[in-house]
Symmetry: D3
Subunit: 226 residues, 6 copies
């Protein structure tokens, strides 16, 4: 039995991409039926951004607008839970205590964000650490970690990246809008302190999860120095 | 001190209509500061419908898809709570128990749906009954209750409508799509048994609330036989 | 594995009929041990009515008095859970979220009402839809659905009844007091939209559940047009 | 502002004594409006006993049957909350955490039992200690503490009783059935360690509360040695 | 399958005795893997006492200071849950309702205190009764129940003690400080009314649990008259 | 009415420093009675560290050990709430939703940590942003922000520090053990994006809070570029 945490970008688990959600459902079902345990964190995506924009016109309270994004990420989680039917725990946990309750039942647990000022990538890392995950897989809109801005023609996809180098790459890339937002510093800190077995891969193909679980490196693996 | 319940259509409290949300915020603030107590129920609107459509592609579970719509109606509630700032109770109640807790603090309580298979119009009626509301106002995209399908040229806006006649009008109108969905049978049943002082009015002008509270009949008033 | 929802009238699950409760316990145990999953909704019965009467002398708040009835239906649920011992989930869920949590554990979940203005027959339908029940069985004090008031000498028990005809029959029967209250309009709406495989049978004989599950029609089966 | 805890016997707050409940409502309203803060604990009474008897026929689990009694005591609390309307906190707290939340709103908090194996008289003492109550008043079916079994002709009502003597009197009186059950040892322990200003009085006359609050000794006052 | 409740003294499950906690973890794992179900209640110990002392310097509110001790007992529960990893339910239940939820998942449930004015020995008895435990084992710093103060040279360890005699022994021993505090009167009452199969044994050797489960009497067994 | 968030180091709110806790209680009482609203976040301090060390001997699960520290920080919060008596909300909120509920009552809200992998300094910043705090004051064991390691002889206390420079200073100082841990990067990010009016001051003198609120700069003020 392995413990697996998936973080799926909100641009991928999106209510306008139901086919992709179905395919995720099938992959998760296969993993679950093979005896592994899975938690999935979904991001907020475009709808989240559009609610956050609306929120900012109404209040200058950034935390409050974060709550909007969190609620949308939870609805995305609900979409995925819907396709998983009985496999999934019946509720979307809203905090760590509720996550632990859900996890104790042995079901697939799907959740979104938890708290203002915290990215869903950090939620995924925190949960992976808490359940001692064997795999933490970030499913994103790019193919993995690049040595520079992936939109540049000479950007090279890295098969492996040392956690410190990743921290460095991410801190230099301020091209937030439309760019990475892959893994934020809190996630990095947690992944690093517990040396979590972490991958970044292309999320439009859910089969990448199976490939990574069977030992292939699709995308980028995070490595740790001795 | 009067107790007021507003039900605002999800087509009106919509994240793409932030100006209107602001105006609702101002009206609610004025009412609150005059010493009245207010609960507001928001509907789901277009985004809810679009998530429900996505859900139906993923599962045949109608209740589950209702949950989607409920979550969106709660995010709409959050938008309105955001503009109300400290006036509003800090959370969106998810059930009647939580609503009662929130109401006990004296703040404006904003909420969305509560349970699958139940409309937000029924939630508003249930809450109005529970807190013994002096006013229950449905803010909709039409100007009130008409004697027939309001899209017909000869439809007449009724200034008053007997609850039994309303029941009759609504049951005959099966033009659901784009039409009324004003007040569902559960709401009617509750309004009727407690003879709640209920109005249906045009929601794109929040000042209509003030007008109704000061004794004008803007839209339609529901009446009860002796 | 089949999913079964039972709605047992509060006149049947009654603290003065412990023998009957025991027999329900045995039937539910047999079903559970055969591998099926079960949720049970219990009604309020006479004690509920007597608390509601007391409540009405104290307050004109109908919703509040509904809460009384709901609490009694939950105590009836507790009685049944007591006889089921470890088979039953340890708590009586108080809302849909708690129901889903309970259902995720795989135990028999027993609950009463949920919300003012909503009958326990509607709760059963909502839950049946939510868990995609294979059977929804209403256990009542009459033998099924009759073509007219069952107290009339020429009333005929229907073996099958189309959902629209049922709606019609129930709407014509206003002989509420002591009569049906079988299935309210909200329950009908849910059963209809999801074409739930629904039966109405005589609840004083719990073996009727086994008979229905093995394919017999005891009482009335609800049918749907193409 | 004084803090007052009332413990009202379930034989007094009983759904067949709505007039008495109304009179309690009026007295509590007067106290509240004078600026004092009040928590009320209600017992289970006859209905509780009758559910407990039913429970014992179904299971040998005494704790489980206690839960039955606790639920009935909560419904009694709901009856009293119903007559208090807006004065009362909207929910019946189910544990100490929920009580503290409720108390923080400044409303009258009404509750029943909390936990199997614990009497409502102990709940009242625990709450009185927690909120540093100025008065803890036990409203019972007898006129106060007697020097022996109050059903004996020569039993003398004590105007004051030392806490140690009370402990002694109660421990000798094993005539539980129909007798005292006034204050159990856990309640005594708490009252004693915090020297809570405690009274036992006749509950069929709610005005006794006013009398005690204004300095009269109606019934028995508990005293403490230096 | 047997149901076992352990009450471990806070002096034993102490963050400065991690080796002992590990050994408890191993014993509990063996029992769990043999198919039995286990709940564990941990006490507060020295740290609890030191927080309670601090609390008393800040407030005269004894209940509030009890809450301190309860929170520390929960942290001790967390330590034990930590070493049990996936075997343990993911949260420390804070009340009986949460305990029942946790117990329904089939995991080992570890908890501390629940309510002010109530000892963890009473919590253990209440839980043992609620789940119909086959064994309730008190793991203490002494070797069992003695016929008098165990610090006296001629104190004799009793292999069996009648519940009434135990009650008598404990009531006579007021040498609280540093002495027994074994089992308080509430625990005695519960154990007695349900004739729970109860043992008191030496907690510094967790293997004593295995010995008792396999039929040996290590320490003292509580007996009941016919 | 101003909104004030205090973050008090766990080394200061410590159960062995009850005099200091009392003085904090008095200062908070004065602020509250002047009409301002206050939330207080307490750290974990030495006891937290000692539990975390114990936890690490039991499990390699860092998140789990964080939970230990969080629970201790909540007990410290409880100590402070104890001395505040009725001024403080009756519970220690365990997540953001509970915080918002508590804040809605108008009481002083005291809390500890919320989530593994997140410092209490970040909790304070998140809450300050969420309630639109007018002041966020970090009460630490040093006198403010220094231009280098404060233990160095030539370290200069800065009266003002630009947020970017602060970020820079903190990132260079890796002398974690015994040193700053003042404000972590997540806190910096939140403070910066909402330009929260933030101070760092010496926590052993609670009067510093009053001084800062009245316009003095005691310690260091964080500044923002245009």
């Amino acid at each position: 039995m392995r413990r697996i945490v998936l973080k799926i970008s909100g641009k991928i688990i999106d209510h306008q991409k139901t086919d992709l959600i179905k395919r995720y459902g099938e992959v998760i079902r296969r993993i679950y039926e093979s005896g592994d345990k899975i938690a999935v964190v979904t991001g907020g995506g475009e709808i989240a951004r559009s609610y956050i924009r609306a929120c900012r016109e109404l209040t200058s309270n950034e935390s409050f607008c974060d709550l909007m994004g969190i609620e949308i990420s939870r609805i995305n989680a609900l979409l995925l839970a819907g396709v998983l039917e009985d496999l999934a725990y019946g509720r979307i946990p809203r905090d760590i205590d509720q996550f632990l309750e859900a996890w104790s039942t042995g079901r697939v647990v799907v959740l979104g964000g938890i708290q203002p000022g915290q990215s869903t990538s950090a939620v995924a890392a925190a949960i992976a650490e808490l359940i001692r995950a064997d795999f933490l897989i970030y499913l994103t809109i790019v193919r993995g970690v690049y040595d520079r801005d992936p939109s540049q023609p000479d950007a090279v996809l890295l098969r492996e990246v040392d956690i410190d180098m990743l921290e460095n790459i991410l801190s230099k890339q301020s091209f937030v809008a439309g760019g990475y937002e892959l893994i934020d510093p809190v996630a990095i800190k947690i992944i690093k302190r517990s040396r979590i077995n972490t991958f970044v891969t292309y999320g439009y193909d859910p089969e990448n999860i199976m490939r990574i679980l069977s030992g292939e490196i699709i995308g980028t693996r995070i490595t740790y120095r001795l």
